[in-house]
């Protein structure tokens, strides 16, 4: 089981994501300028401030050469997880619906939030029970999800905990096929009891389980 974590100039949480992946499998960093995905089984587009978040968060990163391969990988059904800035990149790239707008407060906010698992049937949430609550940190300045059309919601902020003004408390969505998932909270920062909760591990465990069963099939 090998995860690939994309590294753009300005990525900040790529090593954190790599460490989280390594709790359930192997993980390598994928350099933004390389098209080669090194045969990974799943891709994580991590958090941070790719290209400084200049212009719009994720706007420039989506054009990195590696993203062509990631898009191709996604089209072929590969599992792609976008975390925070990665979610923004996937939306900008059209791999996920919608857009992430500046927080309603116009401020960056760090907060440990509770998330409701709306859809536990995805390859990213199958380790969760329906209605599970996950305690995971969020940290971003542009996390207000907006989509003019209905979307497949996977995670919502628990009632009263929406940190950014997101439409319908949406914290994470998937594509129609279900193999691409983006969320604003940072599951990779919730994998170690020493530094916080371990609820985020369920996302990585779900991916591992999905990939393993696929490989077996």
């Amino acid at each position: 089981m090998k995860f690939g974590v994309v590294r753009f100039p300005g990525s900040c949480d790529e090593v954190d994501a790599q460490l989280a992946c390594e709790r359930v499998g192997d993980a390598v960093l994928l350099w933004h300028a390389d098209r080669d995905l090194q045969g990974v089984d799943g891709v994580v587009v991590p958090g941070g401030f790719s290209y400084g978040d200049y212009l719009r968060a994720g706007a420039i990163a989506r054009f990195a050469p590696v993203m062509e391969s990631v898009a191709e990988f996604a089209r072929e059904g590969g599992l792609v997880l976008g975390i925070c800035n990665g979610f923004q990149v996937l939306c900008e790239a059209g791999l996920l619906p919608g857009a992430l707008l500046p927080n309603e407060t116009l401020r960056f906010v760090f907060r440990q939030v509770n998330l409701q698992v709306v859809d536990s049937g995805t390859p990213f949430t199958r380790a969760c029970a329906p209605g599970d609550t996950l305690s995971i940190p969020t940290k971003h300045a542009s996390g207000r999800y907006f989509s003019p059309a209905p979307v497949d919601v996977v995670l919502r902020y628990a009632p009263g905990e929406n940190p950014n003004g997101s439409q319908d408390d949406i914290a994470g969505v998937r594509n129609e096929a279900g193999n691409v998932f983006g969320l604003m909270p940072h599951p990779e920062h919730a994998v170690d009891p020493l530094t916080g909760s371990v609820d985020g591990l369920k996302i990585f465990e779900s991916m591992r389980a999905s990939l393993t069963s696929r490989v077996a099939a």
């Binding site: 100039p9 954190d16 401030f49 401020r107 960056f108 760090f110 940290k139 990779e188 020493l194 530094t195």
Partner: protein
């Protein structure tokens, strides 16, 4: 007639006539424009420490853990496992007063560069902020909001967690806000690098951003004569931080070091190329030739002096063997970072600046770096005490006749809601404290931040500095700051390894400020000696004066420590009903310099309560050992707002009440910082601790955790909910 009298340029550049005469004497000629620009900056207070250097010699700088002490870009201590921990605090007060967002942001950018300049990967930032009374001053609210946003912007975007900080509001900072930032970095010891240039024939390579007319500041007077009406574009400009550029510069610099491609590395900070290059030359006892024409510029038509003093951000300077320059450029290209050879190391002992095929400056390195005169201060203790210098704070609590005085419960609510004591959540919520996956204790979880190390151990860090108390009694007040930092570390089981400091003071040429500075340094030095904590670096910011007088003398101390097991560290929240609460340490507080005295509008007074070093150290040790043993549910030092406030904070954090009897003779709101703690744990655990440390540090059981209110028997009884709401609202309403 002296040379000085004949030429006025130097005065506009901030040099005295005496200093200018000295320059002419040393050079045996008049300096040219570029030379004078360079000299005026190198001989400025900021670069030459001319009013503080002699005093700083009093600070102890040696200790078994010290790997690099003052004089390098950041101090470094040994944290075991072959790792060095680099850290430093620096001020960006003036730029933040002008443009708080960019000033604070570039302050963070600057201190990060100091840390990766020694080869360490920045792993944490802390911020220390002072503003005027935000409750009364719209300007101060503006500065607060934007400085905090700027710090968050830079730290968050570059992926370094901001794990702690401190924030006070006092009238004395109304015209002179303080924005100090501290950075910690981690390095394998073999990657540590010094700034000394070496090896004549080696190449000087400038890394990072283009050079523009940023922050040319005072030196721009040299150009002002040429400013026509249409030359607005030649004016110096505010420095804009680009954390994205710095992120690439950081990764690139560390990769260059990992590949052993550099002889030396140095950041560009204040005074730009001039300062960086001449300090590299001085440390290596070599000369440097720099060609301005090769410096990549952001704007056309920059003059050599502008290039040499530009403070454009996100640049570094390194020395490279000629055969490795190609490799260096290749690594930099991968990180989309510019790398330009701009000169070379010589054995001339001179800084020679070339431009347009001519020599724009040719100065001995020594005159730039070593020859600025150092001044003795003329300290004079103000005869009328602190209130002769500072007006009393404006009262915000009624005083006077007995029935006007609020009940103790209301006093406590007012204290926890006051700007200096209220929850800092609205500030630190704007900072990412967890990136890099090391943060074991975030803000508000404990008195110090705790970061795990790859060795399995952990480090703790705290930053502190209560200027009002230092104003009351500079020597004891400054010492208290050091003890408070050490106490904060003790609360998480940390043992001090070293400290850094930023001395924010008024005009040292004034007798009373000189006295404050002298006394404060004495207090810090004595505390460091007693605690065996070396000073490994720091920064001095003087002349923080307004027409109304100086700021409160504000030494900011950042201290780091080590603890063996991150799984056994402390929390400040009361944990479980029925836990026993005890005071550890000799605690004889007074109302002098307290937050309550401030809220009542009382004039500043001396002296602060006496500080018994051995008693304080024994209390620190007792708490540290108990935390490390995993014996405690909570540990919190008793600081501003007295024991009532400390207990309220433990209750609010734990969402649980407590019933406590305050020992006779202790005013619940009186203060003595850094000496005593409130701890909680099982009855057996507290009894065992008491037994262990009885002779050294008193452990006084005062009550139990439980219920939904904080009750100080016979004094006050307030629901935790009310305390929590008051504490949450205090700052949120202002930010």
């Amino acid at each position: 007639m002296s040379a000085a009298a004949a030429d006025e340029r130097h005065r506009a550049l901030g040099l005295t006539d005496g200093e200018y005469d000295r320059i002419v004497e040393l050079l045996e000629r008049e300096p040219g424009d570029t030379e004078l620009a360079m000299l005026s900056l190198m001989w400025s207070e900021h670069c030459a420490y001319k009013h503080s250097k002699k005093l700083l010699r009093r600070l102890p700088t040696e200790g078994p853990a010290v790997l690099m002490g003052p004089g390098e870009n950041a101090g470094v201590v040994d944290v075991g496992g072959g790792l060095g921990l680099a850290f430093k605090v620096e001020s960006h007060n003036h730029p933040s007063a002008v443009e708080p967002f960019q000033g604070a942001a570039t302050g963070v950018g600057g201190i990060l560069r100091d840390v990766f300049a020694v080869g360490a990967r920045p792993i944490a930032v802390l911020d220390s902020l002072r503003f005027g009374e935000v409750g009364r001053s719209a300007r101060s609210r503006y500065l607060l909001e934007h400085a905090v946003a700027g710090i968050g912007h830079y730290g968050n975007s570059i992926g370094v967690p901001t794990v702690g900080g401190e924030l006070y509001f006092e009238h004395s900072y109304e015209q002179n806000c303080l924005v100090n930032a501290m950075c910690l970095g981690l390095a394998p010891q073999e990657r540590l690098i010094r700034a000394a240039a070496a090896g004549p024939g080696n190449v000087l390579v400038l890394l990072g951003a283009l050079t523009g007319r940023d922050g040319i500041g005072g030196a721009s007077v040299l150009a002002s004569a040429e400013f026509g009406e249409g030359d607005a574009d030649k004016r110096p400009t505010v420095q804009i931080g680009d954390p994205f550029a710095e992120k690439k510069l950081l990764e690139c610099s560390l990769e260059l070091l990992d590949r052993e491609l550099l002889v030396s590395l140095q950041d560009l900070g204040a005074a730009g190329l001039t300062s960086s290059a001449s300090e590299m030359a001085s440390k290596g006892a070599v000369g440097l030739d720099i060609d301005c024409d090769r410096v990549p510029l952001r704007e056309a038509g920059m003059e050599p002096f502008e290039i040499m003093v530009s403070e454009s951000q996100e640049r570094m300077l390194c020395v490279v063997a000629p055969e490795l320059v190609g490799d260096v450029i290749a690594v930099c290209e991968r990180w989309e970072t510019r790398a330009t050879p701009i000169g070379e190391v010589t054995d001339s002992g001179r800084m020679r600046i070339h431009a347009d095929g001519e020599i724009a400056a040719d100065l001995p390195v020594g005159i730039l770096v070593d020859d600025c005169p150092l001044y003795d201060l003329l300290p004079e203790e103000p005869t009328g005490g602190p209130s002769a210098i500072y007006s009393a704070p404006e009262p915000s609590l009624p005083t006077g006749s007995a029935d006007a005085v609020p009940a103790a419960g209301d006093t406590l609510l007012a204290l926890v809601a006051s700007a200096n004591l209220a929850s800092r959540l609205p500030v630190f919520e704007q900072y990412d404290p967890v990136v890099q996956s090391r943060t074991v204790r975030r803000p508000d979880e404990a008195d110090a931040a705790v970061l795990s190390l790859p060795t399995g151990e952990a480090i703790a860090v705290a930053i502190d500095g209560n200027g009002r108390r230092v104003a009351c009694d500079p020597r004891t007040g400054a010492a208290e700051v050091v003890y408070e930092c050490a106490a904060n570390l003790a609360c998480v089981g940390g043992e001090p390894l070293g400290l850094t400091n930023c001395l924010n003071f008024g005009n040292p040429e004034k007798g009373h400020v000189a006295w404050q500075l002298t006394e404060a340094i004495e207090g810090i030095a004595a505390a460091c000696e007693a605690l065996s904590v070396p000073v490994v670096g720091g920064n001095v910011s003087l002349y923080n004066e307004a027409p109304g007088g100086p700021i409160y003398p504000t030494p900011v101390i950042g201290m780091v420590g080590r603890l063996p097991d991150p799984a056994r560290t402390g929390r400040l929240a009361f944990g479980a009903a029925d836990d026993v609460i005890a005071i550890v340490g000799a605690f004889e507080p007074s109302a002098v310099g307290s937050e309550l005295a401030k809220l009542r509008g009382e004039p500043l007074r001396a002296p602060l309560p006496r500080l018994d070093a051995q008693a304080a150290i024994a209390a620190h040790r007792a708490v540290r050992e108990a935390v490390r043993a995993g014996a405690l549910s909570s540990a919190h030092d008793i600081a501003e707002g007295g024991i009532a406030t400390a207990l309220a904070e433990c209750c609010v954090a734990g969402g649980i009440g407590a019933r406590v009897e305050i020992p006779d003779g202790i005013d619940p709101f009186a203060e003595a910082l850094g000496r005593a703690f409130v701890i909680s744990g099982s009855a057996e655990a507290i009894a065992a601790i008491s037994n262990d440390v009885r002779d050294a540090a008193p452990v006084t059981v005062i009550g139990r955790v439980g219920g939904s209110a904080l009750e100080l028997v016979g004094v006050l009884d307030v629901p935790v909910q009310a305390l929590s709401e008051a504490r949450a609202a205090g700052l949120a309403a202002l930010l």
